[in-house]
């Protein structure tokens, strides 16, 4: 029997990027919040710069994520096998602890990809097997919240389009219009990012420094970045990374209105006979508890969001919560990571130093920033050249004509390991109708619960985009001085830290799971936060959009608390 706890106003499941952000506006408004977090709290010692511990073993995911790795297959008739690779972590702050901190606003186009494509290129430009939908939230709706997040957690960058000011070519001239400048300047440029910015200018392109959730200056009593170089897959030992555990969460806790229960694994969202959420059942130290609440926020990352909804079956929700129309798990999307490498013989690039959010970017071929007529694909990609190339990557990035081991390999890396640079793009996938998440019929986690099964492929749209971008990436590197370029083919990365869809937002309950406020259509006191709500992807990293949407949902809940709780 679960121990029944005292009722609270709001319970948040998962204190990561989304949940950790939502907590702050709620706490400031006076709501009493319980945060249930499967992981614990970390200290700088845990963030030792050890590639094996973090990049290879995903030690920070040991509480839970590593035990429930989804299975993967490429078509609905296939048999799914355990996914390869590491993804999310557990802890107060969630994956905002070990993320790279590239912190983007999406482009206005990304919120209306369907209608913009039809308007400009006709309905036939959308592939037939794609369920593309506009977002019920537009860039202008989210702009105030992007701005809140940037100020609140501290984002470094250079604006390219400020309202009433016009374009500034030192920033991204393709970005949506912003109300003001970033709260602090971009991260330092390095020799490598300068080299690539100069090459882009030679080509008449528009390079700009990528925005970063890492402090370029002391900000709100946190120190500026030291550029020590073990940021991705690892937490920041100085707190210069704007993870929610250093920003919104401690601020929310300081109000006295947020209490976090660590090592608490939510197992079910409970509902009453009318179908409304009544609270959350969780397990801590082998004991089961029931935490009643007026409002429930689910923010456990895409896979666990879908799993918890599907596992929370009841008389009112026989197929799982939000799933009356078989929509939970649908329209799954992910980024394919694609690099073109270049060799700069004799040049010491020193890319091992610094941080991955220290980068030169190009937005000219992202979104609909260029004419797609006759190209055979829609959407685009942001190109980037960045720092933080760790030793293991230095030693293993070799061109196809060099052996992969032995004396010849060794001589090559000795001569060239510090002379390899790359141009990178995150290839967005379309919401193909067959790509989805569901409960795996055979594979279980360590508690005997089914893990998520991912059905995912990419198609012609993605391949054509890559074919279009590759020559540009090669030209960029060659103009910068590369004498040789090479790349692997693009491949689908089903299991992904940029995983989208599964609880799509939309106006129509028959084709989506949550409404424009991220509240579940048939459970109005349950919100879902994460990339799982995105109806389409962009090429940009998702977290600042997750955080802005979370801020907006939290404000909605505080403003309409009585109506929401019912």
């Amino acid at each position: 029997m679960a121990t029944k706890l005292k009722k609270t106003d709001v319970v948040i499941i998962g204190m990561g990027a989304g949940g950790g952000t939502a907590a702050l506006p709620l706490a400031r408004a006076g709501a009493k919040i319980i945060g249930l977090e499967a992981g614990g709290r970390y200290t700088p010692t845990d963030f030792i710069a050890d590639e094996i511990r973090h990049d290879v073993l995903n030690w920070l995911g040991r509480a839970k994520a590593n035990w429930e790795v989804p299975t993967v297959r490429s078509s609905p008739d296939g048999v799914a096998e355990k996914g390869q690779g590491i993804i999310m972590m557990n802890g107060v702050g969630g994956s905002s602890i070990h993320y790279t901190g590239q912190s983007w606003r999406l482009s206005p186009y990304n919120f209306k990809e369907r209608s913009e494509t039809i308007r400009r290129y006709g309905a036939s430009a959308i592939p037939a097997d794609v369920a593309l939908a506009d977002w019920p939230v537009q860039y202008d709706d989210l702009e105030p919240h992007y701005d809140h997040v940037e100020r609140e957690i501290g984002i470094s960058g250079k604006a390219g389009r400020i309202k009433g000011v016009g374009k500034d070519s030192r920033g991204n001239v393709f970005e949506g219009v912003r109300r003001r400048e970033y709260p602090m300047p971009p991260l330092r440029n390095s020799g490598w990012t300068d080299l690539m910015a100069g090459a882009a200018r030679k080509l008449d392109w528009h390079p700009f420094p990528g925005p970063a959730a890492i402090l370029s200056r002391e900000y709100k009593q946190r120190p500026a970045c030291d550029y020590h170089g073990f940021c991705t897959f690892n937490g920041c030992h100085t707190t210069a990374k704007s993870s929610t555990c250093f920003t919104t969460i401690p601020e929310a806790e300081a109000t006295g209105n947020l209490k976090i229960v660590t090592r608490a694994r939510a197992t079910r969202i409970e509902t009453d006979s009318a179908g409304r959420a009544t609270g959350v059942t969780y397990v801590r130290g082998g004991q089961e508890f029931f935490q009643p609440a007026d409002v429930v926020i689910l923010s456990t990352y895409t896979y666990e969001n879908v799993r918890l909804l599907l596992m929370s079956t009841s008389a009112a929700h026989p197929n799982g919560i939000g799933n009356a129309h078989d929509q939970v798990g649908r329209y799954y999307m992910a980024h394919s990571y694609y690099t073109v490498n270049g060799l700069f013989p004799g040049e010491r690039l020193n890319r091992y130093s610094g941080t991955g959010a220290q980068q030169t970017c190009l937005d000219m071929w992202d979104a609909d920033n260029f004419d797609h007529t006759g190209l055979g694909f829609i959407g685009g990609g942001t190109l980037s050249a960045s720092m933080e190339n760790k030793p293991m990557a230095m030693a293993t990035t070799t061109p196809p004509d060099v052996p992969r081991w032995g004396s010849a390999w060794k001589a090559w890396v000795k001569a060239n390991a510090n002379s390899v640079g790359g141009a990178f793009v995150q290839v967005p996938s379309m919401p193909y109708v067959d790509n989805r998440l569901d409960l795996d019929p055979t594979h279980k986690d360590q508690y005997g619960q089914p893990v998520i099964r991912i059905t995912f492929r990419i198609g012609d749209n993605e391949q054509r985009l890559v074919d279009f971008l590759t020559p540009k990436m090669e030209a960029w590197l060659k103009t910068a001085g590369a004498t040789q370029t090479w790349h692997d083919p693009v491949y689908p990365l089903a299991l992904n830290s940029h995983a989208f869809g599964g609880t799509r937002m939309g106006a129509d309950p028959a084709s989506s799971v949550v409404d424009k406020w991220m509240m579940v259509h048939d459970v109005p006191n349950l919100a879902v936060l994460s990339g799982s709500t995105f109806p389409s992807t962009s090429s940009k990293n998702p977290t600042q959009t997750i955080e802005a949407l979370s801020w907006r949902t939290a404000e909605y809940i505080t403003r309409h608390f009585n109506a929401v709780k019912g």
Binding site: R41, Y42, T43, P44, T45, F47, I48, A49, D50, E51, I52, V56, L57, R188, S190, G191, W192, D194, L195, Q221, R222, P223, D226, Y227, H228, G229, F230, H237, T238, T239, C245, F246, P250, E347, R348, L349, N350, Y352, S353, G354, M387, P391, M392, M394, A395, T396, R404, W405, G406, S407, K410, A411, V413, K414, A417, N418
Partner: protein, 220 residues
């Protein structure tokens, strides 16, 4: 804590008050300067006994590693870097799931070498050993489950990890791997000048474990 407050100041421009603030952001943490532990990591390198592999298996593995990352004109290889020690510790610890695949794969390797080239792998001349490894890589060698390239890729991946990961893991002894690729070793910061093109940094030869802030004995 060996490092004094004044040791920390010039390094990162932090004052004690700032350190305490940082510590506050981590919850109940004690402020820890990022300086060096008194004794460097060399002592840790001297430890390390064979744990997961039988002696003959370890002998075959050593011979393989010696060809994957040979000691040659480019400098020290897997032997000097103690890559085998890295793998052995990993198999006794976090990679214990892979231990059976090593035992089976190393046995299959010796069988294949004997059948095709007339001797156990370690007894073959280096050029022949390279032929055998080429057969494995190309999936041509028989007797492996599921196939020889799966075994080859696993060993190659672990060998690279052992050569280029932090010495705290048992490999990369005397920073042989990092010196090979021109990676200077763990540092707590890089200046704007350090990040310019062409700048050659003196090898710092530090493991992450050399820093107080990453050392559990000092850090928490």
């Amino acid at each position: 804590m060996e490092a004094k407050e004044s040791d920390e100041g010039p390094r990162t421009g932090l004052r004690r008050r700032d350190l305490l603030r940082r510590a506050g952001a981590f919850g109940a943490l004690v402020a820890v300067p990022a300086g060096l532990v008194a004794a460097p990591a060399v002592a840790a390198e001297e430890r390390g006994e064979v744990r997961a592999l039988a002696a003959t298996e370890a002998g075959t593995l050593n011979a393989v590693l010696n060809r994957l990352i040979p000691s040659d004109a480019s400098g020290p290889g897997a032997t000097e870097a103690q890559v085998a020690r890295y793998i052995d510790r990993a198999l006794a610890g976090p990679f214990s799931d892979a231990a059976p695949a090593y035992a089976a794969g190393l046995a299959a390797l010796d069988d294949y070498a004997a059948a095709q080239y007339g001797a156990a792998f370690a007894a073959l001349p280096p050029a022949t050993q390279d032929l055998v490894l080429g057969d494995l890589e190309a999936k041509r060698a028989t007797g492996f489950v599921p196939d020889s390239s799966a075994f080859f890729e696993m060993v190659r991946m672990h060998a690279l990890q052992g050569m280029f990961s932090d010495p705290v893991r048992g490999g990369n002894a005397k920073f042989a791997g990092w010196d090979l690729i021109g990676y200077p070793g763990i540092r707590m910061d890089y200046s704007a000048h350090d990040q310019r093109l062409g700048v050659k940094l003196k090898p710092a030869h530090h493991s992450a474990a050399d820093f107080n802030i990453f050392n559990p004995k000092h850090g928490a």
